[in-house]
């Protein structure tokens, strides 16, 4: 099985031009002592056989259950045009736009994406994207360290335990002290998540004022869809806003590829990691787009770069841009309104459980069930639901605690059936 088009005759002709007799002579530098000692790889399968094999694997996954799981990744509706447009090979088989003249499609779409993120967050600059929401928190923390020259990072309780773990793994040897809480004194930044991992929405304006008075930055991990309704990071005085962009037209895909969003204020743009596209002109005065401020990046600055990041998640950023364009100014508000109203409806139906959020919530909330949450979700799965995320295994709650998310895709019928089933399971 192969995707190599070269015929036996052509191989011979090419070897003649090179001046060799066999392909093996091309590998003379790989002397026998350096050759592979094992090659236990199964023989190739036809396209038909690979598709059957993998369809079989995919069928072992319960992807069609009605989904109430969130925790940073949400089951939002993705319009058909998002897939249709991002399936164009001119997008997905292109490389990084290092030759801007033959990559204007890529570069203009990055510029438009950056603009959409600025309009959504209210901030001045966004980069071309990072790997995901968790690495974006890490990049924001090290950016705050660069801006302030301080080496303590305060992680607010609202931050996802997974992001916190990623943060500490990535920064293990950077001499950064991580503390829990929101004390900005002597800190490079305080990192909050809004809505919190458990779904609570807060106004962090006072915290940003306290941060700025103490010379610290406020970093916020936000949920893009919530900004259809919620106060923007800029309105609350946030200095660096980051997000997991999966909710903007990117499939769940068992965890990736997703999209790391990062936006900031004007004064910090030169400390920002990652690629940035900018508008400019050619000699004839035609508008065009290029990658800019590349002296911040690893291919120029090497060990002194702002980050080691080389790629971005350009195709996922394009998905997010197209998704936001299809929703438009009205649609993003409509989706957010539906998510919120449906979650509130479900919340009221779960009277047998104790709501754990004290603050208002957007589309996700935590409850304490009368029974063990892992037992509950197991029983709910047999009734056709992914009932949410038990919090104990994530060290984010007690054994009875369950995190439940609702998106615009959930119908009233599904919400009623879910509430009934969860009550049966919990109160049996």
């Amino acid at each position: 099985m192969t995707w190599v088009p070269t015929t036996a005759d052509e191989r011979k002709e090419m070897l003649d031009v090179i001046g060799l007799n066999s392909i093996d002579e091309l590998f003379a530098a790989v002397t026998p002592d350096l050759r592979a000692k094992s090659w236990d790889i199964p023989p190739g399968l036809s396209e038909m056989a690979v598709r059957d094999l993998m369809a079989g694997m995919a069928a072992k996954n319960a992807s069609s259950l009605v989904c109430f799981a969130g925790g940073g990744a949400y089951d939002h509706f993705i319009p058909a045009a998002v897939d249709a447009l991002t399936s164009r090979a001119e997008f997905y088989t292109a490389y990084t736009p290092y030759q801007p003249e033959c990559a204007q499609g890529t570069l203009q779409s990055i510029y438009e994406y950056q603009s959409a993120i600025c309009r959504l967050t209210g901030l001045d600059f966004a980069n071309a994207s990072l790997y995901d929401g968790g690495t974006a928190v890490f990049e924001a923390a090290t950016m705050a360290v660069r801006v302030t020259g301080r080496r303590r990072v305060a992680c607010h309780r609202s931050l996802s335990p997974i992001y916190r773990r990623m943060l500490e793994t990535h920064a293990a040897n950077l001499g950064i002290e991580f503390t829990t809480g929101d004390d900005p004194t002597g800190a490079a930044c305080v990192i909050v998540q809004n809505p919190s991992f458990l779904g609570s929405v807060e106004n962090y304006t006072n915290l940003s004022e306290r941060c700025h008075a103490a010379g610290a930055l406020l970093v916020m991990s936000f949920y893009p869809v919530s900004l259809g309704l919620a106060k923007t990071p800029a309105e609350m005085g946030v200095d660096i806003a980051v997000a997991e962009g999966q909710s903007l037209g990117v499939p769940l895909g068992f965890g990736g590829p997703w999209l790391g969003i990062l936006a900031t204020r004007k004064e910090h743009v030169r400390k920002m990691p990652g690629r940035i596209a900018a508008a400019t002109e050619d000699a004839q005065g035609r508008r065009g787009f290029v990658l800019t401020l590349q002296a911040r990046e690893q291919h120029i600055r090497r060990e002194k770069a702002m980050s080691n990041i080389c790629s971005n998640e350009a195709l996922c950023a394009l998905r997010a841009l197209i998704h936001l364009c299809l929703l438009g100014k009205e649609g993003i508000q409509e989706v957010a309104r539906h998510c919120h109203a449906k979650a509130e409806y479900l919340k009221k139906k779960l009277k047998f459980a104790t709501l754990l959020n004290r603050a208002p919530t957007f589309n996700e909330f935590a409850v304490r069930l009368p029974i063990n949450a892992e037992e509950a979700v197991k029983a709910m799965a047999s009734k056709g639901f992914v009932a949410g995320i038990p919090l104990k295994p994530l060290n984010a709650g007690d054994p009875e605690d369950l995190l439940i998310a609702v998106t615009e895709r959930r119908t009233r019928e599904q919400l009623d059936a879910f509430a009934l089933a969860l009550e049966e399971v919990s109160c049996r």
Partner: protein
């Protein structure tokens, strides 16, 4: 072409939801944004036409030959896209992995992860692989964090330095720095390879490891790699393999057999997952015996009753929220299973054949940067052409007018006016010939009318763009 925002018309909509089927609820006023986000107000056809026309301003592999050195722009099989569209993979919520109660619901995904990691490990002669790192540079960072964890665990707190050859990708020193190490650069020999003596000269008891690319970014196999590995191990330093050029040796040599302790794979290079305009990639990390206990967790392992998750005892932690760019692993798995043992070996054979064919056809007109036999890519220096007023940049731009993407230029930094050409195994002989003909035509123009090349490209949607203006006026959003 206008921006999508310039096409906005007040009140125009693309998609809308059904009427809300539960009671309306006001979002608390104190938490509301003061004004809606100014997203474009456009119809679906506006969006479809805008992005279709934008796409036509791009060169992609499906439309153009893309001989970018070091980037391995091979054909991205449609088979891989078809299996990635399977709802059982694409619509699967990753928090199903967060609690044992859900594990029976995602056994297919666990199997895919397990089998992909096992195949990657065997291909490179590593003991285990982890799909967590999201991109090549992220794999580097993870790999160097593993080296740090190893030394810390052995009480070697003195080891604070990573050696990196001057021909390395910029990500190597940047990743080592973020993993907390000092970086010491080692010079390549004049012949383009790394010599034991140069490594020896830089060796101290502070050296934690050495990061190598093999073949290196000069396109040359490192003949002394075995001796270098032995010397490092004697000093309890570890050897890192940058998998950027694995395509050249797949099935021929394995990093683990060569003495490498840790590596990253680029699924978007060697294993044909699409580059997507610069990402998403995928950069799994592979480790040998020494680093097994430190791998990121959780890991999928085969239990008595199906696949389960475990975290290694001394794990460095978590570098991804779940299992990295899982959907890229789905594509890479399809690629590996289709090619199989013989097809994968043929990848290296024809990739190297194609690069040498280009070298043979161009070596009289352009000066090869090194005399040794190239592997999967050939590197030329355009320094002689630069003396005639035509730089590598001008050659690159002229190629765009012939309908070819440019090779990599000005990298590696060790070669003046570098032109680095990597054809990959999936291009036909007639494509290689057409490309060589274009390069030879440019070489003739350099002799007859060098100035004409400074205007190139003239066939693209825009000409050369003013990068200084872009940085000074900094218009990055509207």
């Amino acid at each position: 072409m206008p921006l999508i925002y310039e096409k906005s018309r007040k009140g125009r909509r693309a998609i809308a939801l059904d009427a809300l089927d539960v009671p309306e609820v006001e979002f608390p006023a104190a938490l509301r944004r003061s004004a809606p986000a100014e997203l474009p107000e456009v119809g679906e056809l506006d969006v479809v036409r805008h992005f279709t026309n934008l796409s036509r301003k791009n060169f992609g592999i499906d439309s153009h030959f893309y001989p970018l050195g070091s980037c391995t722009m091979k054909y991205n099989p449609k088979l891989a896209e078809a299996v990635a569209a399977l709802p059982g993979f694409a619509n699967l919520h990753p928090h199903l992995s967060s609690t044992e109660a859900y594990w029976p619901l995602c056994q297919g995904a666990f199997e895919l992860i397990h089998d992909t990691e096992a195949l990657l490990a065997e291909i490179a002669g590593m003991r285990q692989a982890s799909l967590q790192p999201i991109a090549g540079a992220h794999g580097e960072l993870t790999g160097v964090l593993l080296i740090a964890a190893y030394h810390k665990d052995h009480g070697n707190t003195k080891k604070d330095t990573i050696l990196i050859p001057d021909s390395a990708h910029g990500t190597n020193p940047a990743s080592a720095a973020i993993a907390g190490f000092n970086v010491v650069e080692i010079p390549s020999g004049a012949d383009g390879v790394l010599h034991l003596d140069a490594v020896k000269a830089a060796m101290t008891d502070r050296v934690a490891g050495l990061m190598m690319t093999c073949p290196n970014t000069h396109g040359l196999f490192e003949p002394e790699v075995g001796k270098i590995a032995a010397m490092l191990h004697e000093a309890d330093a570890l050897l890192y393999y940058d998998g950027a050029n694995l395509n050249a040796i797949i099935g021929k040599a394995r990093p683990g057999d060569l003495g490498f302790d840790v590596m990253h794979y680029n699924l978007h290079k060697t294993f044909a997952t699409p580059h997507g305009m610069g990402g998403p990639g995928s950069g799994p990390v592979g480790v040998g015996e020494r680093l097994l206990p430190y791998l990121p967790g959780p890991r999928v392992v085969k239990g008595a009753n199906g696949y389960v998750l475990e975290t290694p005892a001394k794990s460095i932690g978590r570098v991804a929220q779940f299992f990295g760019n899982f959907m890229m692993a789905v594509r890479a798995y399809a690629y590996m299973r289709h090619l199989g043992c013989d097809g994968l070996r043929e990848v290296a054979e024809i990739a190297v054949l194609n690069a040498n064919y280009i070298w043979a056809r161009l070596k009289e007109a352009y000066e090869p940067a090194f005399a040794l036999r190239f592997m999967h890519e050939c590197v030329f220096t355009a320094a002689p052409q630069a003396q005639k007023g035509v730089r590598a940049l001008d050659i690159a731009k002229a190629l765009l007018d012939f309908g070819f993407h440019a090779p990599t230029i000005y990298f590696p930094l060790t070669v003046k006016e570098s032109v680095m050409i990597e054809p990959t195994e999936t291009e036909s002989k007639e494509t290689l010939d057409a490309f060589c003909d274009a390069m030879l035509a440019i070489a003739r123009t350099i002799e007859t009318n060098p100035d004409s090349l400074h205007q190139a490209p003239v066939t693209t949607p825009v000409g050369r763009l003013d990068e200084v203006r872009a940085a000074r006026q900094l218009n990055c959003a509207c």
